[in-house]
Every structure is written in C-alpha cells, then in structure tokens.
C-alpha cells in the first residue's frame, strides 16, 4: 500500500472533521470534529514517517499531538460543561453574547 492511500484516508478524515465542526448543531460534535482534524494530521505524520529516512521524527510529533489533544479535550469539555450550565443548551449558535 503506498503513501497515497494513507493521504486519502487522512484527507477524508479532515473533510469529515471540518464538516462536523462547521455544520453540527451540537457542540459535542463540534469537539469531535476537532479531534478528527487532529487525528487526520496524526495519520499524515505517521504516514510520512513510514516512508521517510528518519522514521522517529513523525512518530514523536504524533505522540505530542495526542497529548495535546487529550489536554485540549479536558479543557474543552470543562468549558462545554459550563456553557451548558449557563445557557441550558448545547447549540454553539446560542453562545453569541460577545457579539454585542
């Protein structure tokens, strides 16, 4: 299996993630879309590492991204919990108070 297949999967994940992030009416799905985008990037890192001369660099980045995603997910979920408490809604469009 060549590099192109990996990239195709990665691009598909990216597109799905973007679609989730922009279109879903539930903020949890938006968060999930974000995770998919990060994982699309991880796949790219790992794939390029498999087909390059020095395979460790890409894997290291993937591990960093996973750690970063975990931290991000923790902060984001805490924010979402507060948002739900404040606005009684999980719609991202409900949270537009900063517009004023």
């Amino acid at each position: 299996m060549g590099l192109g297949a990996y990239l195709c999967v990665s691009a598909a994940l990216l597109v799905i993630g973007i679609a989730l992030m922009l279109a879903r009416r539930n903020i949890l799905y938006v968060l999930m879309g974000l995770e998919l985008i990060l994982n699309a990037a991880n796949i790219n890192f790992v794939a390029f590492a498999r087909f390059s001369a020095s395979p460790l660099d890409g894997r290291m980045f993937a591990i960093f991204v996973i750690i970063l995603a975990a931290a991000e997910a923790a902060v984001a979920l805490a924010i979402i919990l507060h948002v739900v408490q404040l606005f009684h809604s999980v719609k991202p469009s409900a949270v537009d108070r900063l517009r004023e």
Partner: protein, 705 residues
C-alpha cells in the same frame, strides 16, 4: 455786666462749634437714636441749648460793641486766616480759589441767636410732642440737620456756601414735612407725602434760578464772596453813572425768584400751607426760624446786588402777597392753616420792606416774627395735642378755661403779630409802614404808593384773622364734647419763653419803651444793624430827600395807621365772633362768593394745576408716548433684528457645522454597523472564516511562484 469785645481768635471757633453741634447730635440720633431714651431728643436739645448759649453770648458781644459806638460790628473770618478753600489749588499750580469763611455781623449775630434759641425751644417742645412717635429718632436727626443748615446759611460769607446750606435746608424740610408719610398708621400718609414733594418741587424753581444767578455772578466777577460782590457791584454801578447793567438786572431777578420760592411769595406760595402736614414743631421751625426766613435773609444779604427794578418788583410782589394771603387767612377754618397763610402774609411784609429800601425794617420784622410765629405755632400744637388732634376752629371753643397757660401765651403772641402797641410786632410793622409811606412820599406813586395802601389793609386783616382764631379757639362755649387738658411742661416752657420774647423782643433795649412817639430813639436792632454796618457802605437805592421834620410826620402817621389797623381788626373780630358768637361754616358752604373764594385761596392751587401741572403732565405723557413708541420701538426693532441674526447664525450652526460633524459620525457609525455584520458571535462561523483564511493563505503560498 460789661461784656468783652468779640475776639476773632476764639470766637469764630465757638461759632463753628455752635453751628456744627446740632449736626453731631443729628448723626448720633440717626445712628443710635433708636436705642436711646426718648429717641435721643435730649441730645439735640442739649446741642441746640449749648449753641443757643453761645449764640446769645456772642450776641451780647455784638450789642455791647455796637452800643459803644465807633466801628460797626462786622467780622470776617477770612481776614483772620480762618477759611476753607474748596478749590484748594497747589502752590505750584495756582488756579481759581473759592474760600468759605464766616461772616458775623449785626444781622448775622441776631439771626444766629434767634435760630439757635428757637431751635432749642422747638427741640424741648418736640420731646413732649413727639413722645409717642415710633420714628422720633429720625425726626430729631432731621431737625438737627435743618438747624445746622440754617446756621450755616446765616454764617456764610459766600453765596456758594449759602446756596449749599439753602439746598440742604430744602432737603431737610422735605424729610420733615413728609415725616408722617413713613408712618403706615397715619391717616394723612398720602397727604404728607404729597405736601413734602410739593414743597420740594416748588422751592426747586427758585433754587434753580438762584443757581443761575450765582453762575452769572461768578462768570463776571470770579468771586462769590459777599463783601467783594457788594464792593465790585457798587464800583461797576458807579462807573456806569448809577445805572445797573442789564445782565445784573436779570441776575437780580433770578435771585428774587429764588427768594420768592423759598419765602413762599406769590405765585410760588402754594407749598407753605401744605407744609403744615408735617409735625407741628416742624411748622414752627419752618415758619419762624428756618426755611422761609432764609429767603428774606438772602434778600438782606444780596440787597446791594439788586437793581432798582428788581427792588420795585420785590416791593409789589411782597405787598400783593401780604394782602392776598391775609384775606385767605381770614377765611380758613384750620388752626394751622390760618397760621400758615399768616406767615405768607408776614413774609410779604418783609419782602416788600426790603424792596422799598427798608432792609433794616424788613430784617427787624424777620426777627420779631420769628418769636411770635414760633410761639403761635407751638401754642397751636399744644391746642391740637390737648384736644385730641382737633384742627378745626369751628369745633373748638372755650379752651381758655381748660388750657390757661396756652391761652395766655397765644394771646400775647396774637397781640404781638396783630401789632398791638408795645408788643414786638408793633415796632417792626410800624417800621415797615414808615418805609412804605416814606417811599410813597418820595416817589409820588409807583410801588411805594401801592405798598402804602396794601400793607395797612393787610395789617388790619392780620389783626382780624388772628383775633378771630383766638376768639374761636379759646372763647365762648366748647363746641365738642371732648374735654381738653393742659399740655406737658416740656410743651409749656418753650411757649412761655417765646411769649415773653414776643412781648419784649421789639423794645427790650429801647431807652424809653413807653414813649411811643420818641422818633429819635432807635430800637436795639437798629442800633445793631444799619446799612453801613451791613454792607460797609450806604447802599444804593436808599430813600433820599426826606428831611427830619417830614420823617417825623411820616412816622407819626405810620404809627396812627398801624394802631388804627390793629384796633379795627380786633374790634371787627370781637363783634363777629364774641358778641354775635358766630361759628364759621365749612369752606364749601360759605354764604358769600368772595369768602368762598378766599377759603379756597382764590383757587390758586387749581390754577397752578391747570397752568403748570397739567401741561407738564401732558408733556410728560407725550414724552412717555414718544418713549414708548419711538424709542421703545427702535429698541424692540433692534432686538428683533438681533434675534433674526441669531436665528440665522443658529441655523447655519445647526445645518452646516452640526451637519458636518454629524455626517462624520454617521459615516463612522455606518462603517461600524457594516463591520458588525461580521461579528456574529458564532464560533462556527469564525472557524469557517479562519478556515477560508487558512485555505487562501495556503493557496497563495502554493500558487505564488
């Protein structure tokens, strides 16, 4: 007791102190009088008492010195270095000088003593009379100012200082006549305010003329000092072969108008009868010692400046006023109204005397008149005070028994004014009649003839109306139920003193008082005051060409006429008001047209109203109309123009300036609202923008060469 001679080093200071003491008391009364017992009346009484003592003491000097013969009694403070220069110029820049000093001569000394004495008695009287007045401290202050003004006028050696005091006196009289105008409880509030204004405005006519005369004299001679004026006018007339220059004639006329205004002569007499709206002691002051006496005094002081035509006018005006006012007085029912008209009549005697050349006789009458007129007014005040503010003679009567002391004093003063022999008024009136007869004998007609007919008739009327007053008030049966009572001692003491002066004032120093026909014996006043002692030189216009025999015959006939006139008036008054016990009817219901006219003073006030007041009012109304329509119109038009300009300016401001600012603001707001459309607050949208931005950046990186 031999009196020392006049000592200029100390006595001028004494005079100045005596003249200013009443003013000091007045200022104290104005400032702290409210807190003093009796409104501070004792202060003024004390001050005028001291002034009177000084006045009498120095008057003693004058009598002593003039009685001893030799130099006439005349003292100028300027000659002793005592003067005050109002135009004091620096030594390095000499300019005009106008020094004020004191002139103290026989006339001045007599007048000074009279004014201080009467003012003292009036003060004493006022303590009792004004006891219940809440504004008596103001009253005492004003009367002190009045006294000082008159004393300054008497002592002035300078026409300008005299004029200043003259004006001050007008002001003080305005304050005093209008005294009750400030009392909200007084029923005569309105009347007294009007009377005060009338007095002030009427005398103002004379004051303006006098000021013009002063200006003319100063512009021609550069001095207003009396003795210099007497000298330079004499010299100028001498150069001009005895004829007065025309401008001097008109100056004299202007001075005469000043005198007519101040001394209430026809036709400016209307203010004096109204002036009795003031408190009665003020009337005594005005009628006896101050104000009206000032006019006659000025006539005496300015006599050498007056051209013969002016003197003739004065004689005619005076004689006419004497008879005119005497007839009016005979028809009055108010006790003070009779006395007021009587004053006008007596002042007519004085003015006529000076006009006929009898300055000494006129001044003599002024002094004796001061005594008995003050006594009469204060007695009238005592009657009014004792009979519950009753002014109307027709409702008095029988007061002889309830007010014996007042009656005695008033009777003595009445005999004095009527010219009963041996009383003060007899001597002075006799002297005036003699002057009139002498002038008539010299001129064979003219003002002398007119005066020698008018004055005896006026004298008979004087006797009639004064005894009428006496009989109506004190004789017969009481006409009201009110029980009259005798007044307080502070009211009676001045009455008694003045009554005594009315009796002896004319002949205290005559060698043979009982010998009526002793032609050569001079009364004290003529010893003290002669034309030479008054003006330094025998003045122009004196009666010439009378030999001693003729003079003696004229004196005898004047005496006979005078006694006959007094007796005639007395007898008629007795017949009508005692024998027939007639009660006067109110003025509007008098039976005879003539007496009705006289009671309303020949409608002079109405005439004055029609001739002067009404035209002045219509002129004022015209001026007001011009003011309202033309001047106000211009002002209002200007206002409208300014308003229009303001509106235009405001519109420019609003449209152009505000418009520019607003447009800028609107532009900014427009941009803001456009940009706000991007700011939706939706995170997904922001994410989309970020994505689009990222794609664009990537595309630019990739596609750019």
């Amino acid at each position: 007791m031999p009196l020392p001679d006049f000592d200029p080093t100390t006595d001028f200071t004494l005079l100045g102190v005596a003249a200013l003491l009443p003013l000091v008391a007045a200022v104290l009364c104005w400032v702290v009088g409210r807190r003093l017992p009796g409104g501070g009346g004792f202060l003024g009484t004390l001050a005028t008492g001291v002034a009177a003592a000084i006045g009498l003491f120095l008057f003693g000097h004058a009598l002593h010195q003039s009685g001893a013969g030799g130099e006439p009694f005349r003292w100028f403070s300027r000659e002793h270095g005592l003067s005050f220069d109002v135009l004091a110029s620096r030594a390095d820049a000499p300019g005009p000088s106008l020094p004020f000093g004191i002139l103290y001569d026989g006339l001045g000394s007599a007048m000074f003593a009279v004014v201080t004495t009467i003012s003292f008695l009036v003060h004493l009287y006022s303590i009792g009379y004004m006891r219940e007045d809440p504004r008596r401290h103001v009253y005492f202050g004003n009367i002190g100012l009045f006294t000082t003004a008159m004393l300054g006028l008497v002592l002035a050696d300078n026409l300008l200082l005299l004029f200043v005091c003259w004006e001050l006196m007008g002001f003080a009289s305005w304050l005093l006549i209008g005294h009750y105008a400030h009392d909200p409880l007084s029923p005569r509030r309105e009347l007294s305010a009007r009377a005060a204004t009338k007095a002030f405005l009427t005398t103002r006519i004379g004051d303006v003329c006098l000021l013009l005369a002063l200006g003319m004299l100063y512009s021609h001679y550069g001095t207003l000092e009396l003795s210099q004026l007497w000298r330079v006018v004499g010299e100028e007339v001498g150069r001009n072969s005895g004829v007065f220059p025309e401008w001097l004639l008109w100056t004299g006329m202007l001075i005469l108008v000043g005198v007519i205004g101040k001394s209430a002569q026809f036709p400016l007499h209307g203010w004096l009868p109204d002036a009795m709206e003031g408190p009665t002691p003020v009337s005594a002051m005005i009628h006896a010692a101050t104000m009206v006496a000032a006019g006659v005094f000025l006539l005496g002081r300015s006599y050498p400046l007056l051209a013969p035509a002016v003197l003739d006018t004065a004689a005619v005006v005076g004689a006419f006023t004497a008879i005119f006012a005497a007839t009016v007085a005979s028809a009055q029912n108010g006790i003070k109204a009779v006395l007021a008209w009587s004053t006008i009549s007596q002042l007519g005697f004085m003015v006529a005397a000076v006009g006929l050349g009898g300055v000494v006789a006129g001044m003599f009458h002024m002094v004796t008149h001061a005594f008995f007129k003050a006594c009469l007014f204060l007695s009238a005040g005592s009657v009014i005070h004792g009979s519950a503010n009753e002014h109307d003679l027709s409702r008095m009567g029988g007061l002889r028994k309830s007010m014996p002391i007042t009656f005695a004093c008033m009777a003595l003063a009445t005999m004095a004014i009527a010219g009963v022999p041996l009383f003060a008024g007899f001597y002075s009136k006799d002297a005036i009649l003699q002057v009139a007869f002498e002038r008539a004998a010299v001129d064979h007609g003219g003002p002398g003839m007119f005066a020698s007919i008018a004055l005896p008739v006026a004298a008979a009327f004087t006797s009639f109306y004064m005894f009428r007053l006496l009989f109506l008030a004190f004789f017969g049966a009481p006409r009201t139920a009110h029980q009259a009572h005798e007044s307080h001692w502070t009211l009676l003491v001045p009455l008694i003193v003045l009554a005594a002066l009315s009796v002896v004032g004319g002949h205290l120093w005559v060698a043979t008082p009982m010998d009526l026909f002793a032609h050569d014996v001079q009364p004290w006043f003529r010893e003290l005051v002669s034309l030479t002692s008054l003006y330094g030189t025998p003045a122009v216009g004196v009666i010439h060409g009378i030999d001693p025999d003729q003079s003696r015959a004229i004196h005898s006939s004047a005496l006979a006429v005078s006694i006959a006139a007094a007796g005639l008036g007395l007898v008629i008054a007795w017949l009508v008001y005692v024998r027939n016990a007639r009660t006067p009817s109110p003025s509007e219901r008098k039976s005879h047209a003539l007496s009705r006219a006289a009671a309303s003073s020949y409608h002079m006030d109405q005439l004055a109203h029609a001739v002067v007041v009404a035209p002045v009012r219509s002129l004022a109304r015209l001026c007001a109309g011009v003011d309202r329509h033309l001047v106000d119109g211009a002002v209002v038009g200007g206002g409208w123009a300014a308003r229009l300009a303001g509106l235009l300016s405001a519109a420019f401001d609003r449209v152009v300036v505000d418009g520019a600012v607003n447009a800028l603001g609107a532009l900014v707001a427009l941009c803001g609202s456009l940009l706000r459309l991007l700011q939706t607050g939706r995170i997904q949208q922001y994410a989309a923008f970020a994505l689009i931005g990222g794609i664009a950046a990537a595309a630019w990186l990739i596609l750019s060469p």
